[in-house]
Amino acid sequence: MTTSTEAPTRSAAARAVDARKTYGTGEAAVHALAGVTVDFPEHEFTAIMGPSGSGKSTLMQCVAGLDRLTSGSAYIGDTDISKLNKTQLTLLRRDRLGFIFQQYNLIPSLTAKENILLPLTLAGTKANDAWFDEIMRTVGLQDRLGNLPSQLSGGQQQRVAVARALVPKPDIIFADEPTGALDSRTGIEILTFMRRAVDDTGQTIVMVTHDPHAASYANRVLFLADGQIVDSMDDPTADRVLDRMKQFEG
């Protein structure tokens, strides 16, 4: 077993090593990621923050196998995903990763329950009933399971998306502004579920957010600016994060 130098007690669920992503060439080149090396430790909730255009989404997408790095490498566990082909990447996402996006998380023609079970259905496996019930209880959707997404509110839809990410017990869940389109109360509910999943079941979560309050639910916050990690903060609170963010602007 390899041990990370930075966090000897915990191995990394995902890693990026000197990750670079460049859009365009020559004068017009945009360096969305300009050499990022980072570990996302197991069983931890990591938040990524930074100004708009700093490369947060790009970093997440490249580590999650949705996009390819221009150079450097990205690992899920010990798997170097830059060496995987398209199908292998898809299967890796299906079997080992979970996703929550800001919007458009659900298949409109499937019911809430079918959407939640979709990753398992695709893999041809069944949900553990006790586990499924537990998640349903936490997320509080028992009576809306038969509804289509169009019959659910935005908050309910997002809960379904969280449940879908949790049910297969993935190695790591990537969330890109999961509360970005919700009002603050619903946002708090969603963040509480995610925190609970980390505390109770040891789930690993990486979340991109703009919201200092959302970041305060994480164990650690990474700050990105111009495609590079410029700072990090353990056990953040909303106020400290807000202060740190103000420095970027100032």
Partner: protein, 834 residues
């Protein structure tokens, strides 16, 4: 406005591509068939002018409808030399030409015959009336000289001056080839080749030595007077026409076929265009739905419904015109390609390629009008856009189906069924078919939804992708239905033609087979069935009996007909010759058994009829029996007592024979009879059930031809499926991306697209097939009801299964492009902000 429209068309070009292809394919097909049939028509017209251009007055036999209706090849009346002498002696006649033809063939030195379907023709000495020109050598003027057409000379490598053996009705003849002839811009006047024979030989070789002509043409300055005078000197059964009348008749006879062909082909092209209409309608519906936001914004900033509608209609007009112009070009290229293929295989397109203005104009109009009509409904929808729709989430058509639709569907369906079941005229039944098919179209969204749901358990076996494929087609049932309808109409017609065609074919064959007939009919055209030939026939293994009889063209009470004489008792034993009324046993001197042709009045038993032979001799005969119409009495015509026949036409030799073979006879017996016939150019042997076989082959050919022509509409329906799938994939970019993000492999995404495409094409195929089955069965029923026939429906299962399998394959084929496209999109599109 126009600028906005043009930029919109340019912007959406990819989406409009299928529309353009559909329009131009339909218009192209239309133009191609029009050009080709125009070519055929003009070449046939041209032939008539080349052949008969200088004829001022024509003396031709009356139509011999009597005999033609019963299936036998009649031997028409001939004009005797005495009448021709009278004609030529009329004042004002500048020249004349008699037509006389008979089959001939050549025999090579090794005894093998060649050019076996050539026509021997009396050489016409009047230069102006002769349609043939001598291109090499000279005209055949004295005995033993012949000329052949350029085509035959080339094919058989014949040279002027060569000595040849010609097989004629009068046996083998030693001849010298003295000339090569040409007919207009084609090589030969007759399809199998023309052999011109000099006057001294012609009557002996072509007509048993009788100085007679099949028809006679005159030149003269005053045709109308000539016609009146000629009418006085010609015998019964002939007709005098002016050159113009005569040419018009010839043109009609040739042209009606080509005109009919043109209309039928054009009908298929229009059908293909209508199917294209479904594609256009679908494309625009989807585009309107996708642009709802844009339209709503326009409405919000003050665009009136009328303006919204007009902008969409204008897009339709632009597309219609562009597509139609492309179609005209495609059509012309298509005919060029066809001509090229024909040239490469050594053939030519008759009449060449001439694109008439009317073809171009009707092609452009058809394409544009159908496009504009197809855009009407989507344009109305665009006009109804409310500003509020700019805020709504969903950008797809509504999945709900209005109440009116259900009511219209049921009413039309019931009306259609009732009309088909109880209609008392063809028109009512036809309307019933239209109403029923319309009801299927209107109700298609229900069928699509129901059918897709019914297919769900089956498709779910393919996993979640099968389930999603069903869901997606149910989500927009109208679009699914319109796409399927485009295919439905083609499959409906194919099934209708296959089932109704097969039913009628089998019925007709059964009817013919019910009529017993002689096993073989051997006919000499121009020659005789001499005792030596009869003996040879009898020597063939398994031949039981050969009965030869004499047959002559006559008129009975001035109606052209044929009459036969022979050993009636023997004939009746091996052939189906029966009296409906009276008795054949009463056939004695001075009596006749007349044939009931099924048309007009039949003389009663006991009455007297006047029978005239071609030389004008006549005799009064008492009717002792009326013959039932059968295949065999079709050969004999009326039957006259042998002695009476002798005194009427002379003691001529038999020209026809019935042959009876043992019931277990082998194919070798057939071959032996055929070989005997082949050695004599004048003799053909026809199997007794040949009519049944002929009917079968004609029907089978028609069914195949119609099916082939319907293929064009199926191709356009295929474009429609590709189009719908592509549009729906664009629409579901996010959904597909999400599925791939959370773990659906590309292979499964492609399979999902394929399954949906197969589902749509199966809905269309099954729907069309069921509609076709129902309509054709009801048609057979009502046909039976109206005509007291007893047609049993024949369902061609094999063909139906083949169609079904093809439907599945079509779906797979249609999915190829969209499926590739579905996985070429970026997964990140799913989460990109819109």
């Amino acid at each position: 406005m126009i600028k906005l429209v043009l930029s919109s068309v340019r912007h959406n070009l990819a989406r409009y591509l299928a529309t353009l292809v559909a329009i131009s394919a339909g218009v192209g097909f239309f133009v191609a068939v029009s050009v080709i049939s125009d070519g055929i028509i003009s070449s046939l017209d041209g032939n008539v002018d080349a052949q008969y251009g200088t004829v001022d007055v024509a003396v031709v036999p009356d139509d011999t409808t009597t005999v033609a209706s019963t299936g036998a090849e009649p031997e028409p009346l001939k004009l005797p030399q005495s009448s021709v002498d009278h004609l030529l002696a009329l004042p004002g006649v500048d020249g004349g030409a008699g037509i006389l033809t008979a089959p001939v063939a050549f025999q090579a030195e090794d005894g093998k015959p060649f050019a076996t379907s050539a026509t021997g023709r009396l050489w016409i000495t009047d230069k102006e009336l002769n349609p043939l020109t001598v291109t090499e050598g000279k005209a055949p003027t004295s005995s033993g000289q012949i000329a052949v057409d350029q085509g035959t000379a080339d094919d058989q490598h014949l040279k002027v001056g060569e000595s040849l053996t010609l097989l004629t009705l009068a046996g083998k003849q030693k001849v010298t080839l003295v000339g090569i002839t040409d007919f207009g811009d084609s090589d030969a006047l007759d399809t199998g080749g023309t052999v011109s024979i000099s006057e001294p030989d012609a009557f002996t070789w072509l007509n048993n030595g009788q100085q007679e002509y099949a028809s006679f043409y005159l030149r003269g300055n005053d045709p109308s007077t000539l016609v009146a005078e000629a009418g006085q000197v010609i015998p019964d059964g002939f007709n005098v026409q002016t050159g113009n009348e005569f040419r018009q008749d010839q043109r009609d006879a040739n042209g009606s076929f080509a005109q009919g062909l043109k209309k039928a082909l054009q009908a298929f092209a229009v059908l293909a265009l209508l199917v294209g209409g479904f594609v256009i309608y679908n494309t625009f519906s989807v585009i309107v739905a996708q642009r709802l936001r844009e339209l709503a914004v326009l409405a919000a900033i003050g665009a009136t419904p009328r303006q919204l509608k007009r902008s969409l209609r204008l897009e339709g007009v632009v597309l219609g015109i562009v597509g139609s112009v492309l179609g005209v070009i495609t059509g012309y290229l298509l005919t060029l390609a066809l001509e090229g293929v024909l040239k490469a295989t050594g053939n030519t397109l008759p009449g060449g390629l001439s694109v008439s203005t009317s073809t171009i104009v009707s092609g452009l109009l058809l394409g544009t009008i159908i496009t504009v009509l197809s855009v009407m409904i989507p344009a109305r929808r665009a006009g109804r856009t409310e500003p509020i729709e700019a805020m709504r989430e969903a950008a797809t058509e509504s999945a709900s189906l209005g109440r009116t639709r259900g009511i219209v569907c049921v009413v039309l369906g019931v009306l259609g069924l009732v009309a088909m079941l109880a209609g008392s005229s063809l028109a009512v039944i036809g309307l019933g078919v239209v109403a029923f098919v319309a009801s299927v179209f209107v109700g298609a969204p229900y069928l699509a939804r129901g059918g897709a749901r019914a297919a769900r358990p089956l498709l779910e076996r393919f996993g979640i992708e099968g389930r999603l494929a069903v869901d997606n087609s149910v989500r927009s049932p109208k679009r699914t239905a319109t796409t399927a309808n485009a295919l439905l109409i083609g499959v409906f017609l194919v099934t209708l033609v296959a089932v109704a065609g097969a039913s009628i074919r089998d019925f007709a064959i059964q009817q013919v087979n019910d009529l017993q007939s002689a096993d073989y009919v051997v006919v000499s055209t121009g020659g005789t069935i001499d005792p030596a030939f009869v003996a040879k026939l009898r020597d063939v293994k398994d031949v039981n009996e050969v009965v030869a009889f004499r047959r002559e063209p006559v008129t009975i009470d001035s109606k052209a007909s044929i009459a036969s004489a022979g050993d009636v008792a023997q004939m009746a034993k091996i052939a189906s010759i029966k009296a409906e009324n009276g008795s054949l046993a009463d056939l004695t001197t001075g009596t006749i058994a007349v044939l009931d042709t099924g048309e007009g009045k039949v003389p009663a038993v006991g009455s007297t009829v006047t029978v005239k032979d071609s030389r004008g001799k006549d005799v009064q005969l008492r009717v002792v029996a009326v013959l039932a119409p059968t295949q065999d009495t079709g050969q004999t015509g009326s039957i006259i007592d042998e002695h009476t026949f002798d005194s009427l036409v002379g003691d001529v030799a038999p020209t026809v024979a019935f042959v009876d073979i043992a019931s277990g006879a082998q194919g070798s017996t057939k071959d032996a009879i055929q070989n005997l016939a082949d050695l004599r150019p004048d003799i053909t042997a026809q199997e007794g059930n040949a009519v049944g076989k002929l009917i079968r082959s004609v029907f089978d050919f028609l069914i195949k031809a119609v099916t082939g022509l319907l293929l064009m509409s199926v191709v356009i329906a295929l474009i429609g499926i590709i189009n719908t799938m592509s549009l729906s994939i664009l629409e579901r970019r996010r959904e597909l991306g999400l599925l791939r993000i959370i773990g659906m492999t590309d292979k499964r995404v492609r399979r999902m697209v394929t399954l949906e495409s197969v589902l749509i094409s199966l809905l269309g195929t099954l729907g069309g097939m069921l509609t076709g089955l129902v309509v054709s069965l009801l048609l057979v029923l009502s046909f039976n009801r109206l005509s007291q026939a007893t047609i049993t429906p024949s369902i061609p299962w094999v063909e139906l299964i083949v169609i079904l399998v093809l439907g599945v394959l079509l779906g797979v084929l249609a999915a190829l492009l969209p499926a590739r496209r579905s996985t070429r999109m970026e997964v990140l599109d799913a989460i990109a902000a819109s």
